[in-house]
Amino acid sequence: MKRYFGRKLFIYMLTFFLAVTIDWLIPRFMPGNPVQTMLSRVSVRAEALEVMYGYYTRAFGLDVPIWQQYLNFWNALFHGDLGTSVYLFPQPVIKVIMRAVPYDIFLLLPAILLSFYAGNKFGAFAARTKWLDNTVLPLGYILTATPYMWLGILLAWSLGIVAGIFPIAGAYSFTMAPHFSWVFIGSVLMHWFLPFASLFLVQFGGWSIGMRNMIIYELEADYSHYLEALGAPRKLVRRYAFRNAILPQITGLALKFGVIVAGALVTEVVFSYPGIGYLILAAIQNQDYFLIQGCFLFIIIGVLLANFAIDIIYVIVDPRTRIGMAGETA
């Protein structure tokens, strides 16, 4: 088990190192002058622009040798310094991102956990049940094939605009200031529901068909046939099949984080939900490279943490990893 975690941690650290390096490399080796492009969109007085230009040239550290730029980058990173936002000048990037992160967690965590639970339960239930298999599964395929943002747009339009039940922009009503009261909490939940629902539905489709296919494989395995031959009740056979089928699904969850993050980013854009996705869109439209790079790093850190959480869960649910049998392949 020590070896298992050691290996995983090594990979994660290497990944982080590479990601930071990429983050440093890209602005320096892409065509064009990043400072120029970045400031071309800002409309301030000429002397203010000059100050900003000087600041960003120094901030990119373009005036020192390249190896020193790289070391400085790491140094700044460990001091929590990700630069200053252009679009929200003069706020530091780290502060801007920190304001957005809670919204992401609030949106993603329930969506991931609930869809994983519900999708797997449902998929296991639907497998080899003819009418469910024929009606709900095609729906599952369409759901996983649906682009996240489009489902978001559809929900916003149908439930938000046409039916007028849910608000479609922001994290809480624009007329309110954040405070602790039932009215405010109600408003937060109303604003949260649609982005949550679109993330939930797409993932639900994926998990349920994945589980349905896994269960069918497991029900064809020798141990299932043996149990059946012994006259075990259907429910018991299914339970064994489920416990075996859930393992690849957990691995699948780790593999899917990248896609889920991408989905969350665009869903936030659709609903103007003030998480990192919304920030990224603003950063792209304003050519705010520091903000984009900061968001990139935060996404990487988030995904690495989530992967590590999955590794721990895997050890808990799969006893083989504990005695070091499946450590390398998992």
């Binding site: 990979i11 994660y12 290497l14 990944t15 590479l18 990601a19 990429i22 983050d23 890209i26 602005p27 892409m30 065509p31 064009g32 990043p34 492009t37 003819k130 095609p138 395929y141 369409i142 996983t144 094939a145 649906t146 682009p147 943002m149 489009w150 747009i153 559809l154 916003a156 339009w157 938000g160 605009i161 479609i168 296919n213 069918i216 494989y217 064809e220 593999l255 984080f257 990248g258 896609v259 993050v261 991408a262 980013l265 665009v266 854009v269 990224i280 869109l281 950063a283 792209i284 439209q285 050519q287 490279y289 984009i292 968001c295 990139f296 996404i299 990487i300 995904v303 690495l304 992967n307």
Partner: protein, 285 residues
């Protein structure tokens, strides 16, 4: 003598499968529309042709945008990049994944250690975020560049799966025999190992194809797609940015989403159908 018979048998089961029939029909429909569509319209996607905010009518089949552009024209022109980026991006990702998977699985040892570590690293990096920052710094982007980026970031799961399968095949007798008879490694992979997972390779390509379409649509939607030309993702981006939701202009954002969901869904369903044909255990009686 045996080969044609095998293909006939495959075709027999493939065409009997409803999933494959439905999937291929939908795909064929959109493929034909991609090439015939531009002939059905007199305009170009960016032309300002008439009244703004016009709902669908006999003249403007899918209505018009806030700027008076014809949605149907944008839609049919937007289909082409979907297939282009899907096939190129998905194809590239499959090829890279296969190469790395075959080499890692077949060679084993240090080569495998290194390649496997690389797979694991790229697997963890949220590639969409990576695409974001690369695309953000590139001021000129085309569909080809988009496809190449997607291809170079989407391969890891394929490499991992193929590596595992190659691993289980490489110690089989027929592979040993080929090795003893002095066949070179490349030829062994090509003639002994790959044909044994042909069905899997086909399915990998289909999944990568669908995946690439979704990634491309997402990139386009966030405004980091190609800088010129129209695509379905860009249509949705425009619709949301210019208030199609608030103005209740459903005809602007529904068609592009339906097309993407239908194409990708058809690919996935075809894939399951093929899985059942290749693997008789999964067939429902």
């Amino acid at each position: 003598m045996t080969k044609p018979k095998k293909i006939n048998e495959f075709l027999y089961f493939a065409l009997r499968s409803n999933k494959i029939r439905v999937g291929l029909t939908v795909l064929l429909f959109f493929l034909v529309l991609t090439f015939v569509g531009p002939m059905l319209t007199d305009y170009l996607p960016d032309d300002y042709i008439g009244p703004a905010n016009h709902p669908p009518s006999s003249e403007y089949w899918f209505g018009t945008t806030t700027f008076g552009q014809d949605v149907f024209t944008q839609f049919v022109y937007g289909l082409y990049p979907v297939f282009l980026v899907g096939i190129l991006g998905g194809g590239l990702a499959s090829i890279i994944g296969m190469l790395i998977g075959f080499i890692a699985g077949y060679r084993g040892g240090m080569v495998d250690e290194f390649l496997n570590m690389m797979i694991n690293i790229v697997l963890v990096i949220p590639t969409f975020a990576l695409l974001l920052i690369i695309a953000a710094y590139l001021t000129v982007r085309g569909f080809l560049v988009e496809a190449i980026f997607i291809g170079f970031t989407a391969w890891p799961w394929t490499a991992r799966a193929i590596r595992a399968q190659t691993f289980s095949l490489r110690s089989r007798d027929f592979v040993d025999l080929a090795r003893i008879s002095g066949m070179n490694n490349l030829k062994i992979i090509r003639t002994e190992i790959a044909p044994n997972m042909m069905s899997y390779l086909v399915m990998v390509f289909i999944l990568q194809f669908g995946g690439a379409i979704l990634i491309a649509a997402t990139l386009d939607f966030i405004g980091l797609g190609p800088t010129t030309g129209i695509s379905l993702g860009l249509m949705m981006n425009n619709a949301v940015l210019w208030g199609a939701l608030q103005l209740d202009m459903w005809w602007w954002f529904i068609p592009p989403g339906v097309a993407i969901a239908a194409i990708v869904g058809a690919l996935y369903i075809t894939n399951v159908g093929l899985d059942e044909v290749f693997n008789p255990k999964l067939r429902e009686m």
